[in-house]
Symmetry: C2
């Protein structure tokens, strides 16, 4: 499955990079300059939290996960699918990249269901059921670059807040039938750190066994576990490479980042 | 030019209908049920003003036109291209209409320039230069229904707030090369009124001469003048029909509305 002719990069940009205007600009410039087929997926969590607080709505978190009320889904849709998405699209257009912003509701491209209520009712939070790879491939064939916000829908008229690492992974998995697909997670750090206090202690290759040991023994920072879990899941499901690093990861000459390995 | 084979309806829904949840639902249901090729364009002005006020930003208006500061363009993009657009798309998907939400920046579909500063600096307000009719036609051929928010871009990285009546008219004009195109303006009233105090005094056919007389003598409400100006401009530029009415205009059996005539 690793010898498909057409290559595709699915790049996800995380919250803290989006919040830093100069790093975001550098990232978008590098992304626009990437040769070949590409897809961008973005989060935007902290901007949504700031808007909530300004509107007098205190974000409710349980174990680091946001509870999304009917008011919250309005706010995250405004921030993610509205300002962040369209601002990135306009900036990419300026750089000569023919970007098209999408939520999962658009052209029914990502279907999800509302997370079932067990101990916690997460509200308008979606778990992905399917990605319309055909529609995405048709855009790519027209030299259009899809830019996804992490909002999906349930087909019953409800928009759903969805983890952006998962959106990126599910898109990469769905595209792997037709493309040799790499998934790149960009965030504020240079990669997965051996010591979370040491910014330069980047692990160049993290295999699945070491990840399990690192997670169990606690040397891998607990905030990284869901991202790594999602990344390894993508590798198991035919994505040909998963890399984690900062905006420099898009530069072919930079080799400081973490590559996952099964 | 009126005998093209394929028909297309460009439907614009205005602010006060969007604000009324039950009328909006009725409108979206009727729009989803419309047979044939169709495009939706929406405004959303009063919701943006409410959000501005909640954030402590007083909307600045000159002669009924909004001045769009850098903070305002964030707000209108969040509201128009974010919540209103994606909520409508999700609701249309639920009704079986394969909707795709767009701003003018997406796939570079509507290019505009920042309005030049003369007596008044309108800020991030765009006047349209071109509409990419080819891209829109390709979507329609795939049975996708484009849903446009009234946000455009200048190709230099700036998003621009654009009058939604004008967005609808410019799309209808651009599509008229390939389609027999009708433009329908839906708002809270049944049509253009002969007496603005009398909701039932709908003018069935308003010709250009009567419009000019009505505008000069003041019996046509001054708030209607820009919409009528834009509608007559569309008729002059090959759009085959322009109708103004409320959400019932989408029902083929309803004949209370205003049709413009050159």
């Amino acid at each position: 499955m690793n010898r498909k002719i057409m290559k595709l990069k699915v790049v996800k940009i995380g919250g803290k990079l989006i919040d830093d205007a100069s790093r975001l600009e550098k990232f978008l410039s590098a992304f626009a300059g990437l040769k070949g087929n590409k897809i961008l997926v973005h989060g935007g969590g902290s901007m949504a939290s700031r808007l909530s607080l300004k509107l007098g709505i205190k974000p409710q978190m349980v174990d680091g996960r946001r509870i999304t009320t009917s008011k919250d889904i309005e706010i995250v849709t405004m921030v993610y699918a509205g300002w962040i998405n369209k601002n990135m699209v306009a900036k990419l257009q300026h750089q000569g990249c023919n970007a098209l912003g999408l939520s999962g509701a658009d052209a029914h491209v990502i279907s999800a269901h509302k997370r079932p209520v067990k101990e916690i009712d997460y509200g308008f939070v979606g778990d992905i059921d399917s990605v319309n790879a055909t529609f995405i491939r048709e855009l790519i064939q027209k030299k259009i670059t899809p830019v996804f916000s992490a909002i999906t829908h349930d087909g019953k008229g409800n928009l759903l807040n969805t983890n952006s690492d998962t959106v990126a992974a599910e898109i990469a998995i769905a595209m792997s039938d037709a493309f040799d697909t790499e998934l790149m997670y960009c965030f504020e750090k240079q990669g997965v750190l051996e010591n979370s206090e040491e910014a330069l202690s980047v692990i160049p290759v993290l295999d699945y066994f070491s990840y399990k040991v690192g997670a169990a023994e606690g040397f891998i920072h607990h905030g990284m576990i869901p991202k790594l879990h999602t990344g390894f899941d993508a590798l198991k499901r035919n994505v040909s490479g998963v890399m984690i690093g900062n905006e420099n990861i898009l530069d072919e000459n930079v080799d400081v980042f973490t590559r996952l390995k099964l």
